[in-house]
Amino acid sequence: MVIGLCLVALAAYVKATKFRLTGRSVYFIAAVMLIFLTLSSPVNTLAAGYLFSAHMLQHLLLLLVIPPLLLLSLPECNPRHLIGRTMDRFRLHPVAAWLAGLCAMWIWHERTLCEAATTTQAGRVIQIISLLGLGAIFWWPIVGPQKDRRLFPLLGVVYLFSACVGCTILGILITFAPVGVVCPVYLHPVDRLGLLPLIRDQWGITPAKDQQIGGLMMWVPACGIYIFGVIALLARWYRTAEKTSDVVTAETGSPAPALSHRSIGEKA
């Protein structure tokens, strides 16, 4: 089913852009391929009950990698379109967006929810959709299609770094928690495909190690993604050199400013 959906999405995109591939298309194609990898490859098989760390990999991709790629592939918001006008009307507060992302991350590690997502089909579907959706909301202030609604780059750095801290704390807790505290279902996986000897003996991944790897993935690579976002933000900020005339028009300089007086752009 996933393969089918991916192919349909690609076909629809290609038709919509009328075979003209731009930079944005790369993002879309990358996103679709990652969805395929996440939900249909061996990663998925392992995540479905065998390895907690594979499950974590899915999480990270679904929440932190695929949504921004999808957002980046969206065209500029056109106010003449219905969608553009609707989006213009609703403002997304950055704090709400931030909370959406953090909650998505933390809630799915609560024991009952984690088990439901691994063992029931409905749970899995809800989890996937919620991660993609909340991820999109989280990344909206950073890479959303409405360029003027994006956060000021330095505030964007604060936004991403604080999310990284939130992610780190969860990662630390999972890494150092006693095994089985987070998601007990991975302690004794149901071996439908006969993979357990491969995982336990050949790869040497015990449940304890599995949980450690999962926690560490939430900790280090996840933060790596945020840091990458920060660097991209800064690169974008330093590159925008508008060469327009200066803000300061005085030729002879300004008198020494008083302590708290600001003349341009003061946000009271």
Partner: protein, 739 residues
Amino acid sequence: MNGAAILTDQSVPADFIKRRALSWASTVDHKRIGVLYLVTTFGFFLIGGVEALVMRLQLAVPQNHLLSPDVYNQLFTMHGTTMIFLVVMPALIGFANYFVPLMIGARDMAFPRLNAMSYWFFIFGGLLLHFSILAGGAPAAGWFSYAPLSETPYSSSAGVDYWIMALLIMGVGSVAGSINMIVTILALRAPGMTLRRVPLFVWMVFINSILIILAIPALNAAIVMLFIDRLLQAHFFMASQGGSPILWQHYFWTFGHPEVYIMVLPAFGMISEVIPVFSRKPIFGYPFVAASTVAIALLSFGVWAHHMFTVGLGHTSDLFFAASSMAIAVPTGIKIFNWIFTMWGGSIRFTTSMLFAIAFLLQFVVGGLSGITFAVAPIDWQMTDTAYVVAHFHYVLFGGTLFGMMAGLYYWFPKLSGRMLSEKIGRAQFWMMVLGFNMTFFVQHFLGFMGMPRRVFTYPDLPGWGLFNMISTVGAFILGFSVLMLGWNILWSLRRGETAGDNPWNAWTLEWATTSPPPEHNFERVPPVRGRRPLWDLTHPDQPDEESPAAKTDFCPEKNRTSMVVFLVSEGFFFLMLIFAFIYYNYTPVPGPTAASTLNAQKTLVFTICLLASSFTVWRSEVAFRNKRHSAMVGWLVVTILLGLVFIIGQATEYLSLFHRGITIQTNLFATTFFTLTGFHGLHVCVGLLALLIVLVLMLLGDFRNFRPRALETISLYWHFVDGVWVVVFSLVYLKLLL
């Protein structure tokens, strides 16, 4: 009003000087405070240096008996603590204090009195630390005070307690100073100086200040927990009742690793000013230097466990941290290339300042390379706790930061004092310092390879060990002599140095657009800022720099609100560490009293509702302020204070009932973490109530009649924060009991 006039003008009458001298004690001028920092740190540098020389005397020959082991331990603890907290950090802050307002074209820092407070907290903390020598012995558990060595059974004298208290006091000063710096840089830049045009020293100090407000709370959490262990017999870090000594290491290095970047970023900034000026070229790749600084700062919070490769965290953990530690070398490496390419093709003037900058480049790279070898965990397993580590961090901190500060000092001394430092003495001092430094520390790499441990008061007579240690000791004395030469240079030049003009180096940043030293108000007129090199643009308007991003708007937040937000971020981090400890120690139920068996969640719910209601009422007070309705504003504030009082009284009754049942902070880990977390929250509530009360009194005295003061909105931000923290604490501790 400048210090140099005291020393050079012989015709000034004596009592005038006395009055002037006393004025230094009450100054709020950022330039004088900067000089105070620099002079004080030089004094502590001499003390720390003497401690080092005495240690080197002990280590000069094998099986030496000059010092007893305990005295040696005190010496290396004091040397490390002094050099890190009383020399490097405050000296960098001193330079920043003096030059950041000048470089951004401001008149002073955003909060001058807070600035003075930071200095006095620093010197008081330093004196308190040294008072421990008279009060039973200096701390002897290392500058990082690992548990359980630093706990009472193994460190029974009060030394560690003084260490903790001194660090807490200095930590407050540092955080306050950093908040001041952040707000100054955001809110007080001259028109035209956008954040993408600030001098790199300013940018580095800005990022550095953010590092400080995040890292110091981690240290504060750790030392507060240690304090509770020592004074109140709790067991945060004692394994006997379920505590974890490893947790100390995690918390300490969460502070400790960002701390090493705190100690180097401003020096990077100084180098980024010095090298372009003496190569007569703008810095190569400004955006790369600036962005890589942000990357370093953020990454620094993700690599701390590379100090713990030998602790037994597991290979998986080691692997991830090895990877992230290798990653963090990249942004620093980028900067080295930027500096080298700045020099490439430039017309280099080998002033003493430039000599120190070039030495910085070479020596910092050596230190960086030895550092990156530690990222490979197996090498770390072999080299940890050997003299190789000592060589590494001295290369980055002394060969790096200190040499960077020397470059900055020789560059900026003319501006500070109106006199040039003697180039002749300077050159001699430079070569003496290079010789002494490398002689002392280069051989320690080899000693480390040969297996000589660090923090040992003596060593056996193994082949080569005695020779290298002797070389190191001789080098140390040469180094000490070079420091005395520096002092001599400064004193000589203050009296007989060549007069510097406004801009002796023909540099381009704003501090050179005023007299040397600057008048109290800094600038008569701030030059127009159209690029990253304002004075270049002024004299060469037809040759603007390539990248001069103009901005239609600039990020310029209001200073009071910004300062409170920054403060709350810092406090938030502190609470995060305490919350983490609570979760960690209560994952699995502990023996003894637990939340379920001791707490009355329903009663606390009532008090919680009062506290949350007080957030609503303070908001109503703010609304009344904005609508200029005075009595409504006062009324809502009174209700806020009363609700807050109800909460704190409720908390007190809960504590009392627990005490009556014999449950105190030392009973078990649940009680320890519970009392620590709720206790610090309660403390914040009390401080908030006091602040609200002060605002109320000001209102009643009529200060708010014109509806201009910003105090209410600032304090209410704090109040909302306190309530927010309680929501988290309540959910963690009490919520399960209600459901």
